[in-house]
Symmetry: C2
Subunit: 221 residues, 2 copies
């Protein structure tokens, strides 16, 4: 089905040149003129394939999401407990994005949902929802069975947890980003622990309120 047309190839060449420059010089310092030149064409041509410089990053993000699917499948395959499963997913992502850690800053920088590059934008909806699906699966065959009201929201909540972690990671200046590693280790336990606790009868009132709160937040989307 995938007809690799000449156009696709050119597009890929621009993407490749851009990513290379982003890695070597950083997103801001890499100019569109340089990217186009590296890809062997005039400046304007790059705009025939990408609406903007930002759009190139978006394409990279989309490409990454696709490439990670089998890696995530594999990561979930062996693991049984929710903690292991969530941790495995996080490890896949951090490892995959390692070479482009800084570049993700160009994505994370846009908090405005109207900006196409925002993790909350309409343009990234597909990626976002597919990603949440993975968290749903991480929950589905795990060792924990959260109350129904919470269960519906957990994929989205875990996704948010992941985004926060990645954001922290992007700007983590500790040696080898060991702070993020430590954070993953600890938070995965805490998060899954809280989910387990949420089933306790004593927790019911708080849980109800948290559920309502998250539902309010989701109305904005």
């Amino acid at each position: 089905m995938k007809t690799k047309t000449k156009s696709d190839e050119t597009r890929a060449r621009i993407l490749e040149a851009a990513i290379g420059l982003f890695q070597r010089r950083g997103f801001a310092a890499a100019t569109m003129r340089e990217i186009a030149a590296d890809a062997g064409m005039a400046t304007g041509a790059a705009y025939y394939y990408f609406d903007s410089k930002d759009a190139i990053v978006l394409a990279f993000y989309e490409h990454s999401a696709k490439e990670m699917v089998p890696l995530l499948e594999e990561a979930l395959a062996g693991k049984k407990t929710l903690e292991e499963r969530v941790r495995a997913m996080l490890e896949v992502k951090l490892h995959y994005f390692e070479p482009n850690r800084a570049l993700l800053g160009a994505l994370a920088g846009h908090t405005d949902p109207r900006n196409p590059l925002s993790p909350f934008s309409a343009e990234t909806r597909d990626i976002r929802e597919r990603d949440m699906q993975f968290f749903a699966r991480a929950l589905a065959d795990s060792n924990v069975k959260p109350p129904a009201d919470l269960a519906d929201l957990l994929p989205a909540m875990l996704w948010m947890y992941q985004m926060g972690l990645i954001l922290f990671w992007i700007y983590d200046r500790s040696e080898g980003q060991h702070l993020t590693r430590s954070l993953v280790d600890q938070s995965a336990g805490v998060v899954t622990g809280l989910i387990k606790l949420s089933s306790l009868p004593l927790m019911r009132p708080v849980r109800k309120r948290v559920v309502k709160l998250v539902q309010t937040i989701r109305q904005a989307a």
Copy 2:
């Protein structure tokens, strides 16, 4: 002590012109040329007073923080319970920033701590710490007495909670931002409720882990 020099006055005039244009046209659409012209000077002059367009927003933010101090004092004055106190602080901020809600997006957009405009930058440290102090005071004379280990971290945690809420508010497209209002109502109760719960013996293990986690996060700052 405050010698209102000619220079200060010019600076204020630029700030005023800028805020006006930001309100009427939005941050992005307001050009530096226009701002300078509005303030009655050549383009370059504005750069003598402000390092960048962003820096103008930062100045506005600093000015706001100062102006809000007495309002926050007053808000805390009457209230007794933690929930009331936190809610009152949030109401002051949302009300104060109402006319410039959209402009705050120019601030919130910068997640990179190295960016001066980031809420986590060195340049905004003073504002941030003063703000946390207010949350410390909101706790101090309230009806709850959280365990010592948690108490140290709570001002910072409440500040983060506030920032999340404001971020949500900035992009809240619901009529009159009623979703944010609902969120304030609910979350203030949940947050303070969780703080109360944290004293329960049953909660001790989770609390210890959360405390450790937050300490890890704070190391990055």
